[in-house]
Amino acid sequence: MRRKGVSYAKYGYIFSLPFILVFLVFSLYPILYTAVIGFTDMKGLIPKPIHIMDNPFQNFKDLLFDNASFQQSLLNTGLLWIINFIPQIILALLLTAWFTNKRLNLKGTGAFKVLLYMPNIITASTIAVLFSTLFAYPMGPVNSLFHALGWSDSPINFLQDKMTARGIVGFIQFWMWYGNTMIVLVAGVLGINPALFEAASIDGANGFQTFFRVTLPSLRTIMLYTLITSMIGGLQMFDIPQLFITPAGGPDNATLTTSVFIYGQAFKGSYMYNKAAAASMIMFVIAAVLSALLFYLMRDRDASKLKKQMKKQKKAAKAAARGA
């Protein structure tokens, strides 16, 4: 049987080489270093000799079962992620639908896209200062506004109350990133074959139908990216919780996220690097599990069915070749 042309597989390796090299040099060592530290008793500045602990998983166990702060931080991270992400993805999808809907023909979508992305450009520290000023107690602008509108009769200390503190931190994250998500989705839509849209409009589909039947399915690959990066970003939420409410962690640890916890373990108090490393590894495992779940849920069912069929065919062909 004639060989089917030249195999270009080697180019896969060649094209990936720069990434691999740079990664090996700059990232692998630090990550391995961290992973190993999680199993040791390293703490304080500068090792006296580090020992692998007798029970290597001691740190992990302690964190998950005995450490109330860590447990609280897991809870907070989840809560804050929900407050931040659900509105974000809904709004981003909505905006994408509006801005890419040729029928609707909105004017000024260009300007809107530009403006709505802007919050992503300022640094978290600046945003923290600006929002602290906005929500200042007792007479910051928001308090004055609420007062004027009659929504509250006495000034609310937003940053001291658990629920509002969480709400604001979640809101700030949402505000910073919804433009980013929208831009990503719009870029994805720009990659969809315009012929599909033409076909849909010829078939008489309206806005809704076009969006749900044509745009979304074609966006699946990009959606997966958005979901996963938002999930990972949410798990690693750090800048705003750390900077916005001091002391970091908020009233009664209400805004303590896992990354803030890790940073606190490593750089405050008695520099417990081993706990910080162990917590990082735990977060990594959580992220990996959730990502695998997302990949599974978003898999291209047609493609995987096809793959299964092809595998069956190959097997049958092999069996036939052998049997016959």
Binding site: V6, I46, T246
Partner: protein, 443 residues
């Protein structure tokens, strides 16, 4: 066949990459201890790396002095080159943490005393400087300053700054309402009440940063329970549940309840309330002597405003164990020499020189009180300085700021508790319990 070639190529390049990495780490690795020549070039020039936290933007006076001293040293020692790295306070702290974690501290740097110093000494990062104390600098330090930098009998840094915390007050406002400087707490409460009745903010306090409130608590504790009891509690040798200490916590909450502080104080930063005081909108302000330049020499503040500020000592509480000459304060930053510095001896010489010269020029040049004794007769100083410096000589005890004294974990708990205490979110007993727990935890 072609594929086999490719795989071979792959394996070769991966092997090359790996060896590259190893070579890189290998070549760059000689730890400074093995290679003492690293700081000394072949022509004999010695380079000293110094890191400090006086940026020209934020601390112009100190910046000038540092550069002056460096220039003087370099002129006297032409074979020495001193390289500066300047950061602001917060960035400096962050960077030092990372540098110490990777054992790459600069030859000479700045540190704080007691609790902050502890982990560095534990990690053997600082060189002991006792030999310098036996030399030129013998007896030149204010009592208690070098002790704060000593752990188990060895001194690990030489202090540059020295600070006390008086209560600054606005003389004009006091005059306006016929008030005299209070010497007892009851008189003080009277002052507060009179001011309040007349619609003037009695005390400016920005407790968002928490250490500002800590000053109030410490003085209260000192006056009621006595300096020794407070010191012991901070060290863990006495309990915070001691009646004197819980009484102080209660008195603080009473003061808050009297509306003695500006509105919203628990959420305002120190910077924000400083203005209020200096603009004459608040009558009193408990703060460190580092503020003195603003009340004396800083040209950016109107002369009129500057002239209206005076100070008094925290009043005594009747029945309390503390006296009026007991202060809260202590050494500020000090200079350390890294233990693994390749130019340790030269660095030590430099530090000795620096501390001596700093003591001579810091008051006039930057308005900062040095940790070395100042002869007020020899230097012409603004009145506030002379008065305060004389107080320093009279002081019966100086208790170091709690958040500096305690280990960083406990310090953090203390600061949070202070905010809770001022905010009414914890009872004096709860306050005591949390403190004992944190101090006992030992970190």
């Amino acid at each position: 066949m072609g594929d086999a070639d490719v795989y071979k190529k792959m394996r070769v390049s991966l092997a090359l990459a790996a060896s590259l990495v190893l070579a890189a780490t290998g070549c760059g690795n000689p730890s400074k201890n093995d290679n003492p020549d690293l700081g000394e070039a072949s022509d004999g020039t010695i380079t000293i790396n110094m890191m400090h936290l006086y940026p020209q933007a934020g601390a112009a006076g100190q910046y000038r002095i540092v550069n002056k001293i460096i220039d003087e040293y370099q002129t006297e020692n032409p074979n020495v080159v001193i390289k500066q790295e300047v950061l602001d306070n917060e960035q400096y702290k962050a960077k030092i943490k990372v540098l110490s974690a990777i054992n790459e501290l600069p030859d000479v740097g700045m540190t704080w005393a007691a609790g902050y110093l502890q982990p560095f000494v534990g990690g053997e990062l600082f060189a002991p400087l006792d030999d310098l104390l036996q030399g030129e600098l013998m007896d030149s330090f204010v009592a208690g300053t070098t002790e704060a930098y000593a752990i188990q009998g060895k001194t690990y840094a030489l202090p540059l700054e020295f600070n006390l915390a008086p209560i600054y007050y606005n003389k004009k406002i006091f005059e306006q309402y016929g008030l005299r400087v209070p010497t007892t707490y009851d008189e003080f409460l009277n002052v507060v009440k009179t001011l309040e009745d007349n619609g003037v903010v009695p005390i400016a306090l920005g407790n968002k940063d928490r250490w500002t409130g800590s000053l109030w608590y410490m003085y209260m504790a000192d006056r009621v329970a006595g300096a020794e009891k407070l010191a012991n509690a901070l060290k863990g040798e006495a309990s915070f549940a001691d009646p004197g200490l819980t009484e102080s916590a209660k008195l603080i909450q009473d003061l808050v309840g009297m509306n003695a502080f500006n509105e919203g104080f628990n959420g305002l930063s120190n910077d924000e309330v400083k203005e209020q005081f200096i603009q004459g909108k608040a009558a009193m302000y408990l703060m460190g002597t580092w503020e003195l330049p603003n009340y004396t020499t800083n040209q950016k503040v109107e002369q009129q405003l500057r002239d209206s500020i005076g100070f008094f000592k925290f009043p005594t509480v009747s029945g309390g164990k503390g006296n009026i000459d007991s202060w809260v304060g202590g050494p500020g930053v000090g200079l350390f020499v890294a233990e693994n510095s390749p130019v340790k001896e030269e660095a030590k010489k430099f530090v000795e020189f620096f501390v001596k010269r700093w003591g001579e020029v810091s008051v006039t040049g930057a308005g900062v009180i040095p940790a070395t004794k100042v002869d007020t007769t020899k230097v012409r100083l603004p009145q506030l300085y002379t008065d305060l410096l004389n107080e320093v000589n009279k002081a019966t005890s100086i208790t170091l700021f709690a958040d500096v004294q305690m280990a960083s974990g406990a310090a953090e708990v203390h600061l949070n508790q202070i905010q809770a205490l001022f905010g009414g979110a914890v009872t004096p007993d709860g306050f005591a319990a949390e403190h004992d727990k944190a101090v006992k935890a030992g970190q």
